[in-house]
Symmetry: C2
Subunit: 471 residues, 2 copies
């Protein structure tokens, strides 16, 4: 019995298409009512989570979609997963909800267990964590830690702050508030707050009208596909990009405290980098004394066939920070160097320091993924799906360019020749009962749950072919 | 029967002091173990939330403290409140926990009801909300909205972006990423992310080593107490500070899109401003075309005798934004101007757009506060407590300077002549079973729950006197 049947004996066996327009009439009505109090204009439809189950999401019009977008890649174990419902109804969870602690000042006796459960699935080489509330928050907390670490190295870890630092910082001026940069990449997405937004570089709409930090952007490889037929070209592409990274370290006017990178640029187009590229980045950060922050917000928690995507690369020594959120439900960063924790308390601090309710859920998700070996299972299902998509690609080469994500489980994407056609495809997939998402301007990204199996892959591939055959 | 007896028939009748050192030996052991995985060095003690009830927080050593700090002012209705436990165990909550939606794309059919429940307690004049995850996040989301609104006024609300804007923003450069400022105040606290941190100005330790925006700081009034004996002086102080605010608007090199202010500066020392001061701020923002953001993160949800503290001031027209978090458990901002919602979608957006679990709790807290009229009740209890503290002040004038917060319910503070004595006082209060917090360098802030009553005030006042009489 497959994992989806184990969790969801009543999961639908096929999508249900109940309307001819999307969003359907009831969704439209509901979206308009909601919009009076909460901006709902970006709604695909209004969901009925009571009726959603496993890989299927229900809307208020009676549609039941196979969901390969999964809340922008943030549902790990399917809708209404019974193991998570049990956790959600536990007394431990109830206390975390109603007695939300200021975890830095008044940690619960439960916290060590909760944090340790999360650390059981920490990336190789990482043994501590700090907790936040979203992907953007996780990255910005890591920035703060990296800046303190970087300045601490210069000042001396145990050296006290000078009067000049204490006074100037209150005016937002150096030396207390120094100019320091985070180096990220073109097409990167790291969040939409002001510092994370300064590192983000995928679409103007994320950033327009916001002040930002003068932080540099390097180039992320643009490989040719299939990888097996373009090895020499792609190797040169790695070199070209690594040279740009090193040039920026040498020349940028502001000292670079950390390099921030996604194992696969997700929102920016499912752009891949090789193990050699990532080892090259690690080497450069070591050479220039900068921290390496791996942003696993979208790639983490099994979807690429390993629990953390960068584990495919065996980066040595391990990254200084690995940030997480989305499918883990809880957000924050892993680290291992004890000097990442600044000497003075109350520097990496805020009222809540995370959310224990979401941390409990993260532990439970990690435990289920491990128990059922769902990362390895995703690798199998992904291989099965990838072969089906390759067959479709042979048949419809213009509708499926740069098919990518081989050996990255179900973390698969492809591109269209025109953004308008990509958008039409995403919309048309609703008519055959599939909820699917895009990335960049012209690409489709698959982000199913970890309980997506071969039978779901069959439905997805058939639905794609049905739409493609109509074009 | 008082509200605490209604909710907590088994609430302790007095603190229990079980150890001679604080944190006690079991807390110390537990803090050390926790510190291996999660920075726990700022822990006061390790709490046992299972045993905590109402106004009392238990630690793992068997101490049971009367809690007038309440998780840095973020517990509204006491520990293990039965009304909130019922909500936490509801199916609505379970779904919000296990099926966390990307609320901007796939809102739940429950969301309109959840948001509407929150809006029932919105400040006068506000009828829409946007949702975030913490106080810092709430403020930064409001900054983003204010920047879009400010630039939209200049550009034209429906005018499209220029090519120059779309291109420059990807390099973090103007005109797409313009230099814009938020004006806040010295001694203000608005959070610790990079933009909120740039607006924060209470202690160097919050900000050291972080790059920041070049944003100005005005002066917040420093009144003489008691207010009734210093009316003329304090009126002049308002004028002095308003002049500085207006001078900054006239002279700051970067355009100021919004003025950000706390109704009572909390972390920065419980500094109060008059209704006239706040109306003056409103008038200046209107004159210079800037938004007014009232930060109610710490002051909101009844603790000052009104649901929102700025409702004491009758600011006209109503503020453009009111941010919330802490005791409301959910974070975000209220607003009313429909042009605060930008014309283009996906500008105020992120994966989760808040947390429905915490929003459900906010609605329930609002409903309980309203049903039991707990803001008015806090006003009564605060008056009772203030009189007791005035009596103590007469007896120990050197240990209780600038007693403040009269007519602001239990939102009461006072100062010591020396930070070291303040710190000793906070620590000594543990020995008589009271958990109490400080603000600024030399002040004590009371932040009890809304179920804090006269009988608790008696215990608190007696405990203070016991410590004072030993000095």
């Amino acid at each position: 019995m497959g994992i989806s049947e184990q969790y969801f004996p009543n999961e639908p066996t096929a999508p249900v298409v109940a309307t001819t327009e999307f969003p359907g009439p009831k969704s439209q009505e509901s979206i308009a009512a909601l919009n009076k109090v909460f901006d709902s204009r970006a709604s695909y439809f209004v969901a009925d989570y009571e009726k959603s189950l496993g890989n299927y999401i229900a809307d208020v019009d009676g549609n039941m979609y196979l969901d390969v977008y999964a809340q922008i890649a943030s549902i790990a174990l399917g809708y209404n997963n019974p193991a998570l419902i049990e956790v959600a109804k536990s007394d431990l969870m109830t206390r975390a909800i109603v007695d939300r602690p200021a975890m830095g000042n008044f940690p619960s006796k439960d916290l060590e267990g909760i944090a340790s459960e999360i650390l059981k699935v920490a990336p190789k080489g990482q043994d501590k964590l700090w907790s936040g509330l979203s992907g953007a928050d996780a990255n910005e907390l890591a920035f703060k830690a990296a800046f303190m670490w970087y300045q601490g190295k210069k000042r001396g870890y145990t050296t006290e702050f000078t009067d000049a630092e204490n006074e100037s910082v209150m005016k937002n001026q150096a030396p207390g508030s120094p100019e320091l940069a985070i180096l990220s990449f073109k097409r990167a997405f790291h969040g939409r707050l002001f510092a994370s937004g300064s590192a983000t570089c995928s679409k103007p709409i994320h950033k327009l009208d916001f002040p930002s930090f003068n932080w540099p952007k390097a180039e992320y490889p643009e490989y040719k596909y299939p990888l097996s037929e373009n090895e020499a070209y792609n190797k040169e592409e790695d070199k070209r990009c690594l040279t740009i990274v090193e040039d920026i370290f040498k020349s940028w006017a502001i000292p670079i405290a950390a390099l921030l990178v996604e194992p696969i640029q997700s929102e920016g187009g499912d752009n891949h980098g090789s193990a050699e590229f990532f080892q090259g980045l690690r080497d450069i950060t070591l050479k220039y004394g900068a921290a390496l922050i791996i942003d696993e917000v979208q790639t983490g928690v099994g979807a690429t066939g390993k629990f953390w995507a960068h584990e495919h690369f065996n980066i040595t020594p391990a990254p200084d920070f690995v940030t997480f959120s989305k499918k883990f439900q809880s957000a924050g960063y892993f680290f291992h160097d004890s000097e990442i924790v600044p000497k003075h308390t109350y520097r990496q601090f805020n009222t809540w320091c995370g959310d224990p309710a979401r941390m409990i859920l993260a532990g439970a998700i990690g435990s289920e993924v491990t128990k059922h070996d769902l990362a390895a299972r995703a690798q199998e299902v992904g291989a099965y799906l990838f072969a089906k998509l390759e067959a479709l690609q042979s048949k419809y080469p213009k509708l499926m360019k740069n098919l990518r994500g081989k050996n990255r489980a179900t973390f698969i994407a492809w591109s269209f020749e025109e953004p308008s056609l990509r958008n039409k495809f995403l919309a048309d997939m609703k008519t055959v009962g599939v909820n699917i998402g895009g990335c960049a301007e012209d690409s489709v990204r698959l982000r199913p749950t970890l309980v997506f199996e071969e039978k779901h892959a069959d439905i997805l591939a058939a639905a794609i072919e049905k739409i493609y055959s109509s074009y």
